[in-house]
């Protein structure tokens, strides 16, 4: 599935889950989603990087969001997805527990995050949105997730 080919209006997001919480990323930042097969470990890479895969002929680092957010890793299963995103000129893959939906979230329904949300994934959350069906999803700041330098203090499980 490729979202990039879709002329999306503002407010189109892709939803995915990590450790029970649902997050959202603007679909303009998402190149495509794949099932995950055969990740090659890169020795001495940061702990939250599972390794690399080939995607469309490119070498793409695979960032495990569970690990990034400080959760315990889970084995990949049939629902695990690799979301390949683009931030500036970087192409990165994010491993999530599941990913499926596209939703439209009008900008008005996104609130800044609560104080209480700061903590594990809090650092990466840009806002909280309430979907039509009363679900709460957290919108993410991709550049923070991918910013290497911030990784050290957050690896509570290392």
């Amino acid at each position: 599935m490729s979202a990039s080919g879709m002329a999306q209006g503002l407010g189109s997001y892709i939803l995915f889950t990590v450790a029970g919480t649902t997050y959202a990323l603007p679909s303009g930042e998402v190149r495509h989603m794949e099932m995950l097969e055969g990740v090659t470990r890169v020795p001495n890479a940061p702990t939250f990087v599972d390794g690399v895969v080939f995607s469309r002929g490119q070498v793409v680092p695979v960032v495990n969001l569970r690990a990034r957010f400080g959760f315990e890793r889970a084995a990949y299963d049939l629902r695990t997805r690799l979301i390949v995103v683009q931030a500036a000129s970087r192409v990165i893959g994010l491993v999530v527990d599941s990913a499926r939906e596209f939703v439209n979230i009008p900008p008005e329904s996104i609130q800044p995050p609560h104080e209480a949300l700061a903590g594990m994934s809090g650092r990466y959350v840009e806002g909280v949105a309430s979907l039509g069906d009363k679900r709460l999803v957290l919108t993410l700041d991709l550049s923070r997730i991918l910013n290497f330098a911030e990784s050290l203090p957050l690896d509570l499980n290392s």
């Binding site: 599935m1 490729s2 979202a3 990039s4 080919g5 879709m6 002329a7 999306q8 209006g9 097969e37 055969g38 090659t40 470990r41 890169v42 020795p43 001495n44 890479a45 940061p46 702990t47 990087v49 390794g51 690399v52 895969v53 080939f54 469309r56 002929g57 490119q58 070498v59 793409v60 680092p61 960032v63 970087r90 192409v91 990165i92 596209f102 991918l146 290497f148 990784s151 050290l152 690896d155 290392s158």
Partner: protein, 669 residues
């Protein structure tokens, strides 16, 4: 029947004698042929090769039964023929006589063993051959200029590509690759034979033959699993136009006629090169590189005993050889450029079959077959291009009735073309058929649950995205409404794997064009593939001086380093696994590749060296995975990333911090 229990293979003496008889018979026959060449300007090369093989085999089996005299004699005969083959010596009258002499002596030695009598002395015969080798030319000389084994371009017989895939069923019917080969060579002349791996991972054998084949033969062969396609000849401008009619009475004759006419091609200054010969050349160059490295090692040890002025001279020579070797290697790599016609040549046949099946009339035009691309790309583009051409016939071109109703000519046209533009090669498959129905594609996408663009935002680019999306088509569909069939995703993936791109232009009712763009040059390099602790790595061949096996029990502990005896000194060994924090091997033997020279030489130990491969080097761009000691990544064919090591960094690390597992930036493990 002698049963002498003094040698381990004495039970096989009868087999040995029987095989010797076969070989000696061949030797006699071939020597007579070669004798006929004395005084002529060209030696019979195939006869020379065959004779060489006989002596080589005789040497081998004689060694196994420990008949030393026969082994040694056969060896010197083989050496002489080897020199001839490599153009180092010329075949004189004396040379032929020495060969006759040697062959006769060989017969006597073997005969003596058979009879249980004392063998005659071989010394005189061996000496005689030795003299011929060292002597230069004499008055009756023949040059053994190698005649190209290629079929001369002006051969009138048509050429065919015969593909055979072995299977248990065929074996049960007694049909194996050997039977196939025999059948083909009795029908005509085999000009090349090579194995190939199909995309599904099965094995197929491809034979190129020149022969006149009638329908009955083609049918019989097809029934036995031999798929035959004519090889299209092109005219001097590299274009071939073939009219392919479906349900018509004349097709066979028309094609035969075209092929025969096309066969009389004006001679060009190109030589057809059998790709297996190219492989052999590459292998020889690889051996040269290894020998060169060993020479360096040896010279390095002698350095202190040689006056410095002379040492400088030697160094200059060595550097020159290095440079020349590299040029040679690069030159051979350039020979790898293959005309894209290799892919195109199958198409007329494919189109004809499909058109016939679907009752359509299709005209296929080929352009730019002389366009050259790397052999590596050819192999991988074969199936994607085939797929697109098939699609054009099945889904693009309408039936004659539909075309007439739409005001078009009843015969559809497909143009398959290739051209270079700067540093890309562009391959286009264009048809004048019904075009892609955007609305139907979007509808179908919606049905299978793919995300679709909003109304009015559909263009060729996202149309292509939908067509290539997984799940868009199913295997047993030939959905006309959607415009295209199965596997577009595979085509796109194949193109992107090669750093290329696929694009689509379409006009409903008028036609469709797919464009494949591929880079002309790929960063390809030779590498050794090794495994350590279950992980696979690639090491650039150029950095590897030598490869060896080292028993773990033979390793010496010197302070905190492991060493192994090597060429009279000690070579430090670094276990690759340890450098990367992977567990040690449990094996009792390690494969070691040696990098660096002299005092900087280092042995890098891995669990196993799997083999050599040509790899396409892909950059690792992102900071997150840029790690010391890894210079890039490659794909060995299964889609998984294999990391490429940087031996220079490894060597440096070893010198500077031998006892630490080197860490990358960021969190350590």
């Amino acid at each position: 029947m002698t049963t002498d229990n003094s040698t381990p293979f004495s039970d096989f003496l009868d087999d040995y004698f029987a095989e010797c008889d076969d070989h000696l018979m061949g030797v006699r026959r071939l020597l007579l042929t070669l004798e006929g060449s004395v005084g002529r300007s060209e030696i019979d090369r195939p006869a020379l090769d065959e004779l060489f093989r006989h002596f080589h085999s005789l040497k081998g089996i004689s060694g196994m039964v420990e008949l030393r005299a026969a082994e040694d004699l056969a060896h010197s005969l083989e050496e002489y023929l080897r020199a001839l083959r490599q153009l180092e010596a010329t075949l004189s009258g004396e040379g032929v006589d020495a060969l006759f002499d040697g062959a006769q002596m060989l017969e006597q030695v073997i005969g003596a063993r058979r009879a249980g009598t004392a063998p005659p002395s071989i010394d005189a015969a061996v000496a005689r051959i030795g003299r011929v080798v060292t002597d230069g030319a004499s008055d009756r000389t023949i040059s053994s200029a190698a005649r190209p084994t290629a079929v001369p371009r002006q051969s009138r017989k048509p050429r065919w590509l015969c593909t055979f895939s072995p299977s248990a069923d065929l074996v049960a019917r007694g049909i194996r690759v050997d039977t196939v080969r025999q059948r083909l060579s009795s029908a005509g002349e085999i000009t090349s034979a090579a194995p190939r791996v199909t995309p599904e991972g099965a094995v197929a054998f491809e034979f190129e033959i020149t022969a006149n084949l009638d329908d009955a033969t083609l049918e019989a062969w097809r029934a036995d699993g031999i798929v035959v396609e004519p090889i299209v000849e092109t005219d001097a401008e590299g274009q071939a136009v073939l009219d392919v009619l479906a349900a018509g009475p004349e097709p066979e004759a028309a094609i035969e006629g075209d092929l025969a006419a096309g066969g009389g091609v004006a001679p060009s200054h190109f030589v057809r090169v059998d790709l297996t010969r190219l492989d052999e050349l590459m292998r020889n160059v690889g051996d040269l590189v290894i020998s060169r490295a060993r020479l360096t090692e040896t010279l390095a040890r002698l350095e202190r005993r040689i006056p410095s002025a002379e040492w400088r001279a030697i160094q200059e020579n060595a550097v020159a050889i290095d440079r020349q070797l590299r040029t040679l290697r690069e030159g051979i790599m350039r020979v790898r450029l293959v005309p894209v016609g290799e892919i195109f040549r199958r198409m007329p046949f494919v189109v004809r079959d499909l058109a016939r099946e679907s009752g359509k009339r299709v005209h296929l035009e080929l352009r730019g077959q002389g366009t050259e691309i790397d052999k590596f790309l050819i192999e991988r583009m074969m199936d994607p291009v085939l797929h697109l051409v098939r699609n054009a016939v099945s889904h693009g071109i309408e039936t004659a009735e539909e075309r007439i109703a739409a005001g078009k000519s009843p015969e559809g046209t497909i143009i398959l073309s290739a051209a270079t533009a700067g540093d890309v090669v562009r391959i286009e498959i264009a048809d004048d058929g019904r075009g892609v129905d955007a609305a139907a594609v979007v509808e179908r996408a919606r049905t299978v649950g793919l995300p679709v663009p909003p109304q009015g935002a559909v263009d060729s680019s996202n149309l292509l995205t939908l067509l290539c999306a997984p799940g868009f088509s199913t295997r047993d569909e030939s959905d006309r409404a959607s415009g295209r069939g199965v596997g577009m995703g595979v085509v796109q993936a194949a193109v992107e794997e090669l750093s290329g791109s696929l694009s689509l232009e379409t006009t409903p009712g008028a036609g469709t064009r797919f464009t494949l763009e591929l880079p002309v040059t790929l960063a390809i390099t030779d590498a050794l593939i090794a495994t350590v602790a279950g992980e696979t790595f690639a090491v650039p061949q150029a950095a590897v001086r030598e490869v060896m096996e080292v028993p773990v029990s033979g390793l010496l502990q010197v302070e905190r380093n492991e060493m192994t005896p090597y060429r009279g000194a000690a070579l430090p060994i670094v276990r690759l696994g340890r450098l990367f924090g992977l567990p040690d091997s449990q094996r009792d033997r390690l494969h070691v590749f040696v990098i660096g020279t002299g005092t900087a030489a280092l042995g890098v130990a891995v669990d196993r060296i799997i083999g050599q491969r040509e790899i396409v080097v892909r950059a690792i761009a992102d900071e997150l995975v840029k790690v010391e000691g890894i210079s890039g990544a490659t794909d060995l064919g299964d889609g998984n990333v294999v990391l490429i090591l940087d031996p220079a960094v490894l060597a440096r690390h070893m010198r500077e911090r031998p006892d630490r597992v080197f860490a990358a930036r960021g969190a350590a493990r």
